[in-house]
Symmetry: C2
Subunit: 443 residues, 2 copies
């Protein structure tokens, strides 16, 4: 792989941006997936960024840090905090050096981005913060360092030069989710947390092994980059998901790969990237999703040679247009150059049950205009549906709408729960079996 | 006045930015008002921007536009819409060409800024939108232009290439105010408005005369710029307010002027800029504020030669850190180079009555980090209080806290309502009389 400087590409990408409707800035509106994109292979391949800094200390130092930690006041992390520590440690959220300080938190809430010392802008749309209560605040307030303990009580990190600031939970929810409703699954956790936030610089001395049989899928940004090189990739595109893969998704991914090949890339590599952190109760658990995805590769619906199945350690926030930026930015840190975005990314039903929380197309629009994501090319998702004329999934063609059958997530879950088989060609059979077994086990 | 290019200044200001606490970007933290600011007079004088484009059509065209308007479907504006039309028409919100289109609205909500065709970023933190209901949407949907009518039914503008999009009121309130509570005064109006927004390009053919005896204070950005030239200003600083001026405010303003003179400016001119649009019920009405301010100048507490008393036609949103950016950005369009910011700008009590809506220092912090405001120098407000040792207002000195008496807005209103006289030196006596008379007339 030969890459030009990333600033040259930023420039090239910017000049490729089209302006429509007078002075309104938008990325080129691409009606077909992976088509009408004006960049050339050379320009985009050059978008590869430098590997992000990790926040781990050298293993030779771990003992010393553990000894120091014992002397410090400590904060015990909950499971969600640990997932964010994992995210921060591996550099997914670079250039963050730790849990956010107040100036980072405010820039995140108000601008979805951070201005860096060199004047450039880095996208950062979701608060990555550590909440503490009044008693803990009093305990740590005058310390120049604090120890962070795992839920089991093991020291895992030191937070240097901590900075304690007010946690206005209502304002945080409002600006992150566009609502303040405490029934929202992530907001509920915010409201249950302490009234203060503590930020600072992290030194991490633990490895993030979950011993759940899935650790081999938890590739760090650095490991993913090594994997692209090992596979001799000349372009990397990513599909973020928290769902099983049906043949419509697979059609989209293979069609994107074909388009990248038409543009001249020899070996575009796909990262199928499952959310690894906390999801809401009715989402399908990680192990089921991974086993289902493995079957899709094993059956050859996705090409195993050019597909990396990975786990992204972040929890889900269900923050729609705000969160999709985070999903994209973290993958830029993992060296991805193309990001596939669909309808209503990171969306869910409003907690009032009456409507979707977000306009289904705002995620894509906001992603295309977001500061700090100029080097990532957004590949819009085309809707695929079950095409009765071929007995398989096709891209939906509104001129023959009656030929198509939409199988929603809800409908799929109903099929699976009742043991009913979906139409042939909807999903690889052994992959479907994984889902059926999951629902059967829940009964 | 001799001004260098504004891009040279942007660069100079950026290089003057200091970075503290590792990689966290902040403007220089200035503990004393108007001191420790590292820019030189030359650098800042150069910050003068080009006058913004107005959206008025030439008066010779008005008749033709009025005739055309009769042929178009129409939207009748309410008083608040008219205030925003006023704001847009005179260029305070430039580069906006009219009520926001969806891409501008989304960038405002998510990024508090717009990316312009030339790649630069313009601050834009509050939605300037026009709401319509379902019936109106159906009526205008296929038109290439619509007429806008004043509340009295007179055609005042044509909106070209209108774009109708969804008005998610809860999300708009959440991202603008950091709350969704319908008791908030501006949010209440949002919830009462239509379910759709219509944006487009404005052609305006009316003048904004209110015939309330205050029109001479309603200087447009262009008229303000002419006034600076007439007064031979070599620096312009602005004080945004929606309150009477007491001697503590005046002390701050005169001390800022003195500091600008120490930096080498010969004639810094101050704009005392009263909010002219809708304010909440318990704020003091515009005419009372202006008459009070006039007395402050007449008594020489502020120097009439170097002070312009003006009205900024925007309504108040009570959106704290989000709104203070709008207040600053609009004044940049009016050619101001220095903006004085205080404690809790554009803040208010939370509608639940339990606390202030915003952290009192977030406004200043957010303003200092906001994209697109790099050319405006922020002058932090130092707290002044009644100093019993001199019988007048002084900057608060915490080392002798007991010498000071804080006279809050609430306390001032109580004094005024009961006809009680505040301590000598709190406010120019004839200015105080205006306030007492106002409260007496309300009884």
């Amino acid at each position: 792989m030969a890459f030009a400087s990333s600033s040259a590409v930023a420039l090239a990408n910017r000049s490729a941006t089209k302006w429509i409707s007078g002075s309104r800035p938008v990325r080129p509106a691409v009606a077909q997936p992976c088509s009408r994109i004006v960049t050339t292979p050379k320009m985009v391949a050059a978008a590869k960024t430098a590997a992000p800094s990790e926040l781990f200390v050298a293993e030779s130092e771990w003992k010393a840090r553990e000894s120091e930690a014992v002397t410090l006041p400590s904060v015990t992390l909950n499971d969600l905090d640990m997932q964010w520590l994992h995210v921060l440690s591996e550099g997914w959220a670079a250039p963050l050096k730790g849990f956010m300080r107040e100036s980072e938190y405010l820039q995140t809430l108000h601008f979805n981005s951070l201005r860096l010392p060199d004047g450039t802008v880095s996208n950062m749309s979701v608060p990555i913060v550590l909440a503490i209560d009044d008693a803990k605040k009093a305990e740590i307030e005058n310390s120049s360092a604090i120890a962070l303990l795992s839920p089991a009580g093991k020291a895992v990190a030191i937070l240097r030069s901590p900075e304690v600031f007010v946690h206005n939970k209502e304002e945080r929810c409002a600006r992150t989710f566009g609502l303040t409703d405490g029934r929202h699954p992530y907001a509920a956790g915010i409201y249950a947390s302490g009234d203060w936030l503590v930020g600072g610089d992290l030194e991490v001395f633990t490895d993030f092994k979950y011993n759940d049989g899935l650790d081999q899928f938890r590739l760090t940004p650095a490991q993913l980059r090594a994997e692209y090189a090992r596979r001799n990739a000349d372009a990397v595109f990513v599909f973020q998901l928290r769902n099983p893969i049906h043949n419509g998704h697979a059609l989209l991914m293979t069609s994107c790969r074909a388009e990248l090949q038409r543009r001249g890339f020899k070996n575009p590599v796909l990262v199928v990237h499952q959310i690894g952190g906390k999801v809401k109760g009715d989402d399908i658990p990680l192990d089921v999703r991974i086993r289902q995805n493995e079957r899709v590769l094993a059956e050859g619906v996705l090409d195993p040679e050019s597909t990396i199945l990975g786990i992204f350690p972040s929890p889900m926030l269900y923050a729609g247009p705000t969160e999709v930026q985070w999903h994209a930015k973290a993958r830029m840190n993992a060296g991805c150059q193309y990001y596939i975005v669909g309808r209503d990314p990171a969306g869910m039903k409003h907690p009032n049950g009456e409507r979707d929380m977000f306009d289904p197309w705002h995620g894509k629009s906001v992603l295309g205009m977001a500061p700090g994501l100029e080097d990532l090319e957004i590949l819009p998702f085309k809707v695929a549906a079950y095409d009765k004329t071929i007995g398989g999934m096709s891209f939906f063609d509104p001129s023959r709408a009656d030929d198509f059958l939409f199988i929603s997530g809800t409908k799929m879950r109903k099929f699976a729960a009742s043991g009913e088989t979906p139409p042939d060609g909807f999903m690889a059979p052994t992959a479907w079996k994984v889902i059926v077994e999951h629902y059967a086990s829940k009964k």
